[in-house]
């Protein structure tokens, strides 16, 4: 294991290994989540909402009769798609989901063309789709019973599950209101044209190239499988709506209710406590259940709670994708042209599928393919009758890495070059070789023992049938400060109390990333107080706090600290100005450490903050900042994963023996949290690479494994030895110049594993997940 990272700048708090600030609260079970805050005992008048779900992969409701359900004792309200207040809602599923982004309001939404989803629609597009009717009742059991009493006459429509089948002429059309004669989505102003990027002349370069390779991959649609299911409680009294939920941004949730239901922003109160992880799920923030729960609360005048069961939690996935990549190169390894084509499976609704296909690609092109002069990138999304796809941690990048990493590995083999040297010759932010990229690749190679790597299929064999191989993959890290400018002003408040303690208002929903610890450390660092004396509020409440930072883009851990640094320095200035006359010196001659102001030239002479502030009122020092992030374009740092696998050629089982995850982060804000991301992210990533897969019955379109028994999330015995390596090579703008990392910990894993499998057995399996049946098939054993 690693001996631990040393920061290039020695600081007291930032860059130090330490416990999470919320460690005890969480370890002791005292941390409250939304389901804990909304018990019936706390809201005695509470009702429970349930929604009818489609048993068909594609169908229309011809007739619905809710009279028996309405007559059931304990049922307090039934709403259907025919009700005017439901029918008039114009959801987009893609509008103000991301508080980081400009489309905060309805008229500025993303994806204006793809308004393919309605609240309680009579048109259902996957098995499990929210259909037609929602009920509110005195208990969950009564609400469930009421759903069974609803009589629905369905018109089953032809359906299609397979992406390639869905693209063929004659396939059942899923959203004729969007495209009358095809399931392929049209270009949209937010996503851009189908050919996202075209420069140079790829065809001419392919014709001239010494070596050309063509790669094809198939990425599937894993799901977040977060431990905490969606849950909300809505209270709508008179003109005021209050919502408790596990959304990932409270102010954005307020905006959602305000825009959709016509309530002024100052009359929508959104409260978000700790949440049981995010991982992209909540980026699809415009969840329909928020709206029908609110309408039920309005209709009954009582608080209404809605939560997903584990089965219902399987409602959103990563975008399954067919990747195609052609690369042309000179004999010396200079890449002259790349043609990349991504075809995404949107599932039943568009969601943020286009973000995975188009919006995420420019950062990859800018920071990895900068030097490739002839480049063509096309991207298409296709409807199918499967769970809707959208945002999942590492959106777009994971799939792009999977296809690009294959093409690179194939090209290196054909050229007879070490793939690491091929990468350094061609990829990265100029000038090449990129220092950050080179650092992570060399370090990762050293730690995995890259020199042990043999030619494909020629690696060592153990116990007669187990073959070992080594693979790697690299990616750009994204979400440096210049990439986060769309957030607009970032707001924080620092209040120093009369006893010298500090309240830090840097509101953000704590999803587990450790960004709250980063915020507290940055405040303590700049102000000169002890980190244990800085209190950060865990519950975000739009009625009482400045705008919260949305937990997206893996970036809160560094964007808040940059602005906290400014506010805390201002608070420090105020403190030194107060102390100077007391100590008989100028403020410039003073410093603060551990809550004590002292004279730099005579450190023994000083005054404790609590003594300085005592008698000056209860909130003597207040400093706030509302500032945009540094905009200087500084490039990005890079990440890599190196993996050694063992493939059992008798059982087809792939076992990861060792994994090294290397990140350049600019500044490592909180090493314990950063390493936790590097190690922990592999639960999602190794799961989707090897074991997790949603399985459908092809005859009926019914998903078969919406539970945590048959949808196989890695558990403790499955987890390999993972070595996290954090580095500081690149630096962004600002005091810290750090870069987000929560998503990039995933981007390299599937490809690194797939390349290692190839290295072990000399056969390529580029269809995720890499399950034993595919391995045995490749080996010709089944």
């Amino acid at each position: 294991m690693t001996k631990g990272f040393k920061s290039r700048v020695t600081r007291k708090y930032i860059g130090t290994y330490r416990p999470k600030i919320d460690g005890w609260e969480k370890a002791s079970g005292r941390a409250k989540y939304v389901d804990d805050l909304t018990l019936k005992s706390k809201f005695p008048g509470m009702l429970y909402a349930k929604v009818l779900r489609s048993p068909h992969p594609h169908a229309k409701i011809k007739r619905v009769d809710t009279s028996k359900a309405e007559a059931l004792p304990g049922v307090k309200a039934v709403i259907t798609y025919r009700d005017p207040e439901v029918a008039s809602l114009r959801p987009t599923h893609q509008a103000w989901t991301d508080g980081a982004d400009p489309p905060t309001t309805y008229d500025r939404m993303w994806w204006p063309k793809y308004r393919d989803r309605r609240v309680l629609s009579d048109h259902v597009c996957w098995v499990g789709d929210e259909a037609g009717v929602a009920v509110a009742a005195e208990s969950e059991e009564i609400a469930e019973e009421a759903l069974k009493l609803i009589e629905v006459e369905w018109e089953a429509l032809p359906f299609v599950l397979d992406l390639e089948e869905a693209m063929k002429p004659g396939a059942p059309i899923i959203h004729p209101e969007i495209v009358p004669d095809s399931n392929v989505l049209p270009p949209d102003p937010s996503g851009g044209p189908d050919v996202v990027v075209e420069r140079g002349d790829v065809e001419r370069e392919f014709a001239k190239a010494d070596v050309v390779v063509e790669a094809r991959t198939r990425y599937h649609n894993p799901t977040h499988a977060l431990m905490e299911n969606w849950c909300c409680l809505v209270e709508w009294n008179d003109d005021k709506l209050t919502v408790w939920s596990n959304a990932y941004e409270a102010h954005q949730t307020s905006m959602h209710f305000s825009e959709m239901l016509g309530v002024p922003l100052n009359k929508v109160r959104a409260i978000c406590p700790y949440i049981g992880a995010q991982m992209g799920r909540a980026d699809e923030g415009e969840q329909m259940f928020f709206l029908f729960t609110a309408l039920l609360a309005k209709k009954t005048g009582r608080p209404v709670k809605f939560k997903h069961s584990r089965r219902e939690a399987f409602h959103n996935t990563r975008t399954a994708q067919l990747g195609y990549c052609k690369i042309g190169a000179k004999k010396d390894g200079t890449i002259t042209a790349i043609h990349l084509r991504l075809t995404g499976d949107s599932g039943a609704y568009m969601g943020h599928t286009m973000a995975s296909l188009k919006i995420t690609q420019p950062t990859y092109i800018q920071s990895c393919l900068f030097n490739v002069l002839s480049l063509k990138l096309e991207a298409y999304a296709v409807y199918t009758n499967k769970v809707p796809s959208g945002i999942m941690r590492g959106i777009g990048h994971v799939q792009t890495n999977f296809i690009m990493g294959l093409a690179i590995d194939m090209l290196a083999e054909k050229l007879g070059m070490d793939p690491i040297e091929l990468v350094l010759k061609n990829f990265g932010w100029a000038p090449l070789p990129n220092k950050s990229l080179e650092s992570v690749l060399r370090e990762g190679a050293k730690r995995i023992g890259w020199e042990r790597r043999r030619k494909p299929g020629e690696g060592p064999t153990y116990e007669g049938a187990k073959r070992r191989g080594i693979g790697f993959s690299f990616h750009n890290n994204w979400h440096a400060s210049w990439q986060e400018l769309r957030r607009g002003p970032v707001q924080v408040v620092v209040r120093v109390n009369c006893d010298g303690t500090v309240n830090l208002e840097a509101p953000t929903v704590e999803t587990g990333t450790g960004s709250n610890t980063c915020c507290v450390l940055a405040c303590a660092e700049a102000l000169g107080v002890n980190a244990k004396d800085v209190h950060w509020t865990s519950t975000v409440d739009t009625e009482t706090c400045v705008k919260d930072q949305v937990q997206t883009d893996s970036a809160v851990s560094h964007i808040f600290p940059e602005i906290i640094h400014i506010a805390a320095l201002d608070a420090k200035r105020q403190l030194l100005e107060l102390a100077a006359p007391e100590l008989g010196v100028t403020p410039e001659e003073l410093e603060i450490e551990d809550g004590r102001i002292y004279i730099k030239s005579a450190p023994k002479k000083g005054i404790l903050l609590k003594d300085l502030l005592s008698g000056r009122g209860l909130g003597p020092i207040l400093s706030s900042a509302s500032k945009t992030l540094p905009s200087e374009i500084t490039g990005v740092p890079y990440v890599a994963a190196f993996v050694e696998v063992e493939v059992d050629t008798e059982t087809g089982q792939v076992k990861v023996l060792k994994m090294v995850v290397v990140h350049d982060l600019g500044t490592v804000m909180f090493p314990s949290g950063a390493e936790g991301q590097q190690v922990g992210g592999q639960c999602l990533s190794l799961g989707e690479t090897l074991t997790e897969e949603i399985i459908y019955d092809e005859e009926t379109g019914i998903p078969l494994n919406f539970n945590l028994i048959n949808y196989k999330v890695p558990m403790m015995p499955d987890f390999p030895d993972i070595e996290p390596v954090i580095m500081e090579v690149w630096k962004g703008a600002g005091e810290y110049g750090a870069c987000g990392m929560g998503e990039s910990v995933l981007s390299c894993t599937p490809r690194a594993v797939a390349n290692a499998v190839y290295n072990a057995i000399g056969l390529r399996i580029d269809d995720l997940p890499i399950t034993p049946d595919k391995v045995l098939k490749a080996l010709g054993k089944i």
């Binding site: 290994y17 609260e25 969480k26 370890a27 005992s41 905490e228 450790g514 403790m716 987890f719």
Partner: protein
């Protein structure tokens, strides 16, 4: 209480939870199909345990019943009649397992929790393990905790936390 039944026809159950005995009348206070998880959370407000799946697949609802770790979502409340339940709320604030989970920051492993939703389940499963086996090996820890999911993937740090908790409980104090 129940208009159609006379005294003596009520089925009462008694469950000792964190040292206090609670009495529930079946069909009135609780239903026969209510799980222990439901009763602990909804009736007693003990929200440390979480119902992550409600089908015994994730371990987030783990509590200790009569000394053994059980999945409270797979245990009916009536099955706990006469039993003794320990939930995470029943542990001392300075409990060595809680402390070890809270403080894990040994370089190379990350923290023992991120979102924290699964953590009470892991803590209780670890508590049960350590009460039976005060000096577990890494393999024994992995086996004992193999029914708990941490989607944030803190498994290696959790193993460390359990090892550290065991050291503390054996009196090998470490900082």
């Amino acid at each position: 209480m129940l208009p159609d039944r006379k005294e003596g026809e009520f089925h009462k159950i008694k469950i000792k939870v964190n040292g206090t005995v609670y009495e529930f009348v079946v069909d009135y206070d609780i239903k026969p199909w209510h799980t222990l998880a439901y009763v602990l959370r909804e009736k007693l407000g003990l929200t440390g345990l979480k119902t992550g799946c409600d089908e015994g697949a994730c371990g987030a609802c783990t509590v200790i019943m009569d000394g053994k770790a059980v999945l409270s979502c797979m245990t009916l409340a009536v099955e706990a009649d006469g039993g003794e339940i320990l939930t995470i709320e029943g542990l001392s604030a300075k409990d060595p397992v809680i402390q070890a989970f809270a403080e894990q920051c040994e370089p190379g492993y990350g923290t023992a929790m991120q979102c924290g939703y699964c953590t009470p389940g892991f803590v209780m499963a670890s508590k049960a393990l350590l009460s039976e086996n005060p000096n577990p090996t890494v393999e024994e820890i992995k086996e004992a905790l193999s029914g708990n999911i941490c989607r944030c993937g803190c498994y290696p740090a959790i193993v460390k936390a359990v090892l550290h908790a065991a050291e503390r409980m054996r009196g090998e104090v470490r900082r």
